[in-house]
């Protein structure tokens, strides 16, 4: 049974609510009955040792697990009061509203401009693309570095810049929630720091759920932290509480570095 404490949504409806979510790969249960509430405009971090199911859980939130042939999801994920896994819901529409940034930067082999414009284009956006691209690049703190070379290939950018480009690309479809799967794990420390600062700023406009294997990163940037172990949610609460005074022994063992 998970220990959940002090999730304050400030009276607003939660951005996302997972209820008894389980994920099966064939016969293996990778995520076991996880329930948690994501408050709006906050950063929620999912931490835990390798293979604990945090990435799998994250991918439930935008139905990316649909793309894996063997995967089966049970339970509910509520977004705006609507269960995302209902029959009538089109995963393509979900992903327009809940974006994702991946572990290794994966820009398309196109120009910087076309990378950011891809999302709006495929979704049938009819407005001013230049405006959207500029706004997105500004929000991801990349505009100053690329405004004069939007036609250059995305591959000409450094790793940290490419990841910020991927973030801009995700923001271009104006999602409500941004999911991040270990976004800084392949970057050097300075680039990592910039991404962390960015996340702190993005919180104003978006709700962010981030998976990280770096505990210190979760401590630095998140408002709420969920600790998962072997597919189960062990403890979920304000980051301050999780790192200074967790209630579960397993949580304390993990954050003090005694295992995992």
């Amino acid at each position: 049974m998970a220990t959940v404490h002090g999730i304050d949504t400030g009276g607003a409806r939660p951005a996302l609510e997972a209820s008894s979510v389980s994920v099966f790969y064939g016969d293996t249960e990778a995520v076991r009955g996880v329930s948690l509430v994501v408050p709006p405009h906050q950063v929620v971090a999912l931490i835990g040792p390798s293979g604990c199911g945090k990435s799998t859980l994250l991918r439930c939130f935008n139905r990316m697990n649909d793309l894996i042939p063997d995967a089966r999801v049970e339970g509910r994920v509520d977004f705006h009061g609507q269960d995302l896994y209902e029959e009538s819901i089109d995963p393509v529409e979900v992903r327009r509203r809940i974006g994702m940034v991946f572990q290794k930067p994966n820009p398309f082999p196109k120009s910087i401009f076309d990378n950011v414009a891809f999302g709006p284009r495929v979704n049938g956006f009819k407005g001013d693309l230049h405006e959207v691209v500029e706004a997105s690049l500004r929000q991801s703190a990349l505009w100053d570095e690329v405004s004069d070379r939007l036609g250059d290939s995305a591959y000409a950018l450094s790793g940290g810049q490419q990841q910020r480009l991927c973030i801009a690309r995700t923001l271009a479809v104006r999602p409500e929630i941004v999911l991040m799967d270990e976004p800084a794990s392949s970057l050097d420390p300075i680039a990592t720091q910039r991404i962390e600062e960015l996340i702190y700023e993005l919180k104003e406009r978006y709700t962010i759920v981030i998976v990280t294997h770096n505990m210190q990163q979760a401590a630095r940037i998140s408002d709420y932290t969920a600790f998962l172990y072997m597919g189960e949610l062990v403890e979920y609460g304000p980051t301050q509480a999780i790192f200074t005074n967790p209630r579960e022994e397993r949580t304390e063992a993990y954050v003090t570095g005694r295992f995992g």
């Binding site: 990316m64 992903r95 994966n106 820009p107 999302g119 495929v122 979704n123 991927c166 479809v173």
Partner: protein
């Protein structure tokens, strides 16, 4: 100045010389094997060039075949080859690429899909004469297309489609899954992902595979004979239902004649054929490099 004995003992140090010698012997063997291939090819080319070069001229390209070797030309055969290969490309390319896209992106993970995959691979190895027989029965007779350029092109299409499908599948498979993931993550439909991300990235590989398959088609003789290509044609095709001949066939019919003159013009014909092949391969390389540079 020599190094002290290795931590593993002096035996190891003595072994070094033997290792080095074996390495060198192996490298030499590989080089020799390469030389064999290169030398054989060189000998062939030199022989053909010596025989055929004197007969290379504009006349060769603009004259039709004739009973007199001095006046024989490859005009009909060249036109026929160009028609056949172009038509084959137009038929085979879209069908093969669509099949490859279906197999890689849309087909469910089912034993039936695997069965189709295996059979396509088998089809690529079927002798070309079998395709000729199939073409004769299906296109010439059953569909009533008779001995025409269309029948020939359809037959060759069947022949090279498995090859193109496999090459296209490889190229599509080579597109990193992370690119697809990113596109899906932005709310793209499967079709949009294929059209905007997968196909453009796979295109160089697909084109290369296609052109190599077409090069093979250029050199096919047996199936075309079955379908009705004739040895003595004094006109260039002007429509799909026209009769035709192709370069390999023309060369073969010249070589079968007793007169020495015909052997020389056959060598010249071989040079023309090689020239076409080289051009097609060069186009393949240029296209591949240009698309790769864009990536």
């Amino acid at each position: 100045m020599t190094l002290p004995a290795s931590g593993l003992g002096p035996d190891v140090d003595r072994h070094d010389t033997r290792r080095r010698m074996m390495g060198r012997a192996f490298a030499s063997l590989c080089a020799l094997a390469t030389c064999v291939g290169v030398v054989a090819l060189a000998v062939l080319l030199v022989d053909v060039t010596l025989d055929g070069a004197p007969r290379l001229s504009a006349d060769l390209l603009t004259s039709f075949a004739s009973r007199f070797p001095e006046r024989a030309g490859v005009k009909a055969a060249l036109a026929g080859s160009v028609w056949i290969v172009s038509l084959t490309a137009v038929i085979a390319f879209p069908l093969s690429v669509s099949a490859a896209i279906y197999l890689e992106e849309y087909a469910p993970r089912h034993w039936s899909t695997r069965a189709i995959q295996t059979n396509i691979a088998n089809l690529a190895g079927v002798p070309s004469i079998v395709y000729g027989i199939l073409g004769l029965a299906l296109f010439v007779r059953a569909l009533g297309l008779d001995r025409s350029v269309l029948s020939g092109a359809l037959t060759l299409s069947l022949l090279i489609m498995p090859v193109i499908i496999m090459a296209a599948q490889e190229a599509i498979r080579a597109v990193p899954p992370t690119i697809r993931e990113a596109a899906y993550g932005l709310g793209a439909t499967r079709w949009q992902v294929v059209r905007h991300q997968v196909l453009p990235m796979a295109l160089p590989g697909i084109l290369t595979g296609t052109i190599l398959a077409l090069s093979r088609a250029l050199g096919e003789t047996a199936p075309l004979i079955m379908v009705g290509a004739v040895g003595f044609v004094a006109f260039t095709p002007s429509g799909l239902s026209d009769q035709f001949t192709v370069l390999p066939l023309q060369i073969y019919s010249w070589v079968s004649r007793p007169q020495q003159g015909f052997h020389e013009v056959a060598a010249a014909g071989i040079l023309v054929l090689l020239g076409l092949l080289l051009t097609m391969n060069a186009v393949a390389i240029v296209l591949r490099n240009r698309y790769r540079a864009r990536l």
